[in-house]
């Protein structure tokens, strides 16, 4: 009987695919950071009810949540060069539409898409921050920005972290769609490599293992970070049995 499943290959080819892991992580982390900034801006616009921007951001969130990411990737992939060509035509500039590194399309799309989702978790987290602390900040004479940076964001981060961690994990797996913009990340590289020996199934098994391990590592890191941020829940007060009991029950 021919060898239907090459068990060894699953593991022996992992190092070869791992060479592309940095690209996957790069796409995920950079677009995550951008998406946090976009999400924060969108959340603040919604909280502060800023007139015109509010409508625009609501439209943006609705569009990003209402269309599949693969469609969005194609849209940016074709739209950005088209916009550049128009700019060239009307302003007499000479941007080369072919010189745009494809990874930029991917980063832009993932950042915008993830930003829309993150904006809602960030908004909820910000609105969950204790009013009293914010008021104390104002009473001390902190500026709006200082209150945001010193009081609101640190507390909101703790609330938002689990959700944001989820969205980062989602993003890592989402990067496997980057091939539609001709970016060769892990999955795309795997497919190319597998076309040498037509062992596609083994390749997908290897990929599954890698993604899974990366996700588990990230989960652990996030959980550790969350625990570190929740400093005030870490310690068991030794001198108050009631509080200690309350904490142990929790």
């Amino acid at each position: 009987m021919p060898k239907l499943f090459d068990f060894e290959l699953v593991f022996s080819q992992i190092p070869e695919i791992l060479r592309y892991l940095p690209i996957t992580l790069e796409i995920a982390f950079i677009s995550m950071i951008l998406s946090l900034l976009i999400g924060l801006a969108t959340a603040l616009i919604k909280i502060k009810q800023i007139p015109v921007l509010r409508r625009i951001s609501a439209f943006y969130v609705s569009f990003m949540r209402g269309t599949p990411i693969i469609v969005q990737l194609y849209l940016t992939f074709y739209a950005v060069p088209m916009v550049l060509q128009y700019i060239n035509y009307y302003y007499g500039t000479n941007y080369n539409t072919n010189s745009i590194p494809p990874i930029l399309f991917v980063l832009l799309t993932f950042a915008l898409n993830e930003g829309a989702y993150n904006s809602e978790s960030i908004r909820a987290a910000i609105q969950s921050v204790d009013r009293g602390g914010i008021e104390a900040g104002h009473a001390m004479g902190m500026t709006t920005f200082q209150t945001l940076r010193r009081i609101i964001l640190p507390e909101a981060l703790i609330v938002a972290l689990p959700t944001l961690g989820n969205s980062l994990i989602g993003l890592i797996k989402g990067t496997s769609l980057a091939f539609v913009c001709s970016v060769v990340e892990m999955t795309a590289a795997g497919k190319l490599l597998a076309s040498r020996n037509f062992r596609f199934f083994e390749m997908y098994v290897s990929l599954a293992i890698i993604y899974w391990v990366v996700t588990i590592v990230l989960e652990r890191l996030m959980a550790h970070w969350e625990k570190r941020l929740k400093v005030n829940e870490r310690r068991l007060p030794v001198d108050d049995p009631n509080q200690r009991l309350a904490q142990e029950i929790r």
Binding site: D130, G132, G133, E135, A136, G137, H138, A139, M140, G141, M142, T143, Q146, R150, I151, P154, E155, I158, L229, K230, V231, N232, E233, R235, P237, D240, Q243
Partner: protein, 250 residues
């Protein structure tokens, strides 16, 4: 010296503070008493713009603000030169006692971290919390939290400290320790405005007592005048109802 002239505050149609005039000399302790919902707290919160008054003038020494034209800088000036002690303490829950006291020193007064820590430690010693400096608010009793709140206000070294019912949220057995700390601050010559329901305490430490009802000052005088020979009918009723145990002359 702090001077309030013709202050008005409305919440919608509800006129909460009506044409209030109040002057507090340096080193004076002014107590505001009166029934719940009479606008005492709102008046206090208008002084540092935690509520925005509709009209009036607030003057801090030679800095005068017409509240209808108050700029962001004016508001920050008022807030940076006053401090507030809140009914619900309003400590930052992810910061330790000492970090709570340091926050305003570092962020607002731009003191360097080391210096701020020394100052904060001094004030925590001052309110009798030398062994609780590194505790988080949830590890402290209500009385201890409020003492941190008072240390935070004292450390900022403001021109006037505003106490918004500092003992109303405390268990009866913790009221004493907080009042003792306020009493000590008064003896040091701090300028203070205290909204309180602790009549015997008010009578003991206030230089002047203001009886507040339905948004206006009904009666004003020394504690002896107001408590022993109230002129206004409403003041008499109120004081009879709170039933001071020692409403007689020794």
């Amino acid at each position: 010296m702090i001077q309030i002239k013709g202050l008005h505050k409305k919440f919608g149609k509800h006129h909460v503070v009506k044409d209030v005039n109040l002057t507090v000399e340096d080193g004076q302790v002014i107590a505001i008493i009166g029934p719940s919902g009479s606008g005492k707290s709102t008046l206090l919160r208008c002084i540092d713009f935690l509520e925005t008054p509709q009209s009036g003038v607030i003057a801090l020494d030679d800095f005068t603000v017409d509240v209808t034209k108050a700029s962001k800088r004016d508001i920050l000036y008022l807030r940076r030169n006053t401090a507030m002690v809140f009914q619900q303490f309003n400590l930052l829950k992810y910061k330790t006692a000492v970090e709570n006291v340091m926050e305003g020193l570092v962020t607002v007064q731009k003191m360097n971290e080391k210096e701020a820590r020394v100052t904060a430690n001094t004030y925590l010693d001052h309110v009798g919390l030398h062994d609780r400096k590194d505790y988080y608010p949830r590890e402290l009793s209500g009385g201890q939290q409020q003492r941190v709140g008072i240390a935070r206000a004292l450390a900022l070294n403001p021109k006037v400290i505003l106490f918004d019912e500092p003992t109303s949220a405390l268990d009866p057995e913790m009221v004493g320790e907080v009042l003792a700390v306020i009493r000590a601050a008064a003896k040091e010559g701090r300028t203070m405005i205290i909204v309180s329901h602790e009549m015997s305490f008010v009578r003991e430490i206030a230089d002047r007592v203001v009886f507040f009802e339905e948004g206006s000052i009904v009666e004003e005088g020394t504690p002896e005048e107001v408590f022993r020979q109230p002129k206004n009918e409403r003041t008499k009723q109120f004081l009879a109802r709170v039933n001071l145990p020692f409403n007689y002359e020794i």
